[in-house]
Amino acid sequence: MEVLGLLADGMFVAVQPLNLFLILVGVALGLFIGAMPGLGSVNGVAILLPVTFLVPPGSAIIFLAALYYGAMYGGAISSVTLGIPGASTAVATTFDGRPLAMQGRASLALVTAALASFVGGTVANILFTLFAPLLASVALSFGPPEIFALMLLAFATFVGLGGDDIPKTIFSICLGLVLGSIGFDAISGAPRLVLFDHTGFLQGIGFLVLAIGVYGIGEMLWTIEQTRGEVTATTPKITAKGVAADTKDAVRRGWKGTTIGSFLGFFVGVLPAAGATPGSLMAYGVTKMVSRKPQDFGKGHPGGVAAPEAANNSASTGAMLPMLTLGIPGSPTTAILLGGMVIWGLVPGPRLFVEETEFVWGLIGSFYVSNVAAVLINLAFIPLFIWMLRMPFTILAPMIFVLSIAGGYAATRDMFDVWLMVIFGLGAFFLRKFDYPLAPAVLAIVLGPIAEPTLRQSLLLSSGDPSIFFTRPIAGPITVIALILIFLPAFKLLRKRRSLA
């Protein structure tokens, strides 16, 4: 029952005036960012991270976590009213959300989404509170080989479960790792990879430079080019009486999807690097599969809205679990949060639970508060968010560019880094056109500086014998799972060939 006491302390931290204020602002901003097509939690967290240096680290991460949470709720608003997912995490919500809106039942879709998100968030918070201290106490005994094996697993998940072009995914991972190694060799202290002998590279490439370049500039260019700035909205009519009726309908037809989404989302979210997008897609698929009327899905079934929405909220909390306990992000957004923690002078990983108890439990407590804040703000201000969605993209887009450039400078105080951001942004746009996934690169630039020293220390321990990753009781199974995931696509290909022959 020690956990309950710690949780109560954490909630007390979360409702301190400054933190409560940041939660409310974070959730509201997150709802807006999530609702804006082309902007998701990862863009919001990347662009706003520099701004949080104003408040203490504990409050900063509470703000960013609230924003992450809010964005998961907000994604549904544009999926339903515009038919464009506000973020990749809400793609599955369009499948049934948009048909419902076209039938004039946008309000039902939005209410279902909000309720399912709330339940998903709550289930995930409880699971998180139960599992996090356990996992952290196990992880305390991890040495370099275990940590490297976990890193390998994080990258392997991208390859095995990513669903993207595999050579391109591996390229992206390695590119991020190499970019992360620019600057100085941590062990010998010698300058390393000073590209074109430009002294600007001596200080290395911060993960924020890549993250803002990719998500603040590259993705925005891509959205502008794809939508050509033209977006049309359906405006739902929302009344108190209507909401009550919709709530009843949502509970009756959406409970199954919500339950599946809540649990499945959490476990997919926990997997390193998987995150909310695959979680929501899988929850949609499973709910449709077990439904008695699978033919109704895709035509406007509330269950098809509830499952992905419960899952994406649940997964966003799940993704925080490996980030806090193992120091390995469970999604691109948590990768950026992790990078932020390093900037704030915290060392992510199991020791955090021992050394920074107030920070960790304050954050966990804030999940609960954010979840309640998000559902209330969401339901109360749906009309306002829809009104804001009508803000012309030609005003919003330059604002985001300005925030990216000014925020990027504020974080690094170096024009060289700002130029790098622009170069990465333009590069990311073209790579995105050719289906190169870029989230792995962002994750890799965060994890690279942790992965390399652990690999070198492990090999030093074993005098250069790589079998150290297979023979230790915890590192061994993790390495084997990682290798299976890496070779999974090859197995699939072989089986397909054999069945064709």
């Binding site: 190499v178 990879l193 260019l221 502008i224 330059p398 560019f401 333009l426 070198r456 250069g464």
Partner: protein
């Protein structure tokens, strides 16, 4: 798209080769008693990048990736225009920072984007273009104590007035 796919893979292969060559400035093998050399990590990873480029080229030849089957242009005329105007605008924005200060560049970029690209009326674009940098000034310089680039000396009179307000 088909041509673009192989050209991109070629460029990335060159980048990988450059990174491999640059990594060899430090030892890339195993040093007894010290573990892997400082250049080993980036060297072998860049090597994997090069192999991936080979695999991408092979998939291009087999036409298995969507881009390698597509005859559509990478960007049509409107797309290129949009990317050049927006991307060029961002490059000009960053280029102007050291001339007319971060805040001046923000105002110029916002005005360019909203008035010229977005075709908003002056009475919409001008106030936003002026209020945004002033708000950001008070946020960064006042609240966060972060000094942004001030550009060339001719911007001093404006900043003197603004600093008077903060201090």
């Amino acid at each position: 798209m088909r041509k673009g796919e192989i050209v991109t893979a070629g460029l990335l292969a060159l980048l990988s080769l450059y990174l491999m060559w640059k990594s060899t400035e430090l030892p890339i093998g195993y040093i007894a008693g010290e573990g892997p050399g400082g250049g080993a990590w980036p060297f072998w990873l860049s090597g994997i990048m090069l192999i991936c480029c080979g695999a991408i080229a092979f998939n291009w030849w087999r036409q298995t990736s969507p881009a390698s089957r597509s005859d559509e242009p990478l960007l049509d005329a409107v797309g290129w225009r949009m990317v050049l105007l927006v991307g060029g605008g961002i490059v000009a924005f960053v280029g102007l920072v050291n001339v007319i200060s971060m805040y001046g560049a923000i105002a110029a970029f916002l005005l360019y984007y909203m008035r010229y690209l977005g075709r908003h009326r002056w009475r919409v674009s001008l106030p936003i273009a002026l209020i945004t940098p002033v708000t950001l000034f008070f946020f960064f310089e006042g609240a966060m104590q972060i000094t942004m680039p001030k550009g060339m000396p001719f911007t001093d009179p404006v900043f003197n007035v603004l600093y008077e307000i903060i201090y």
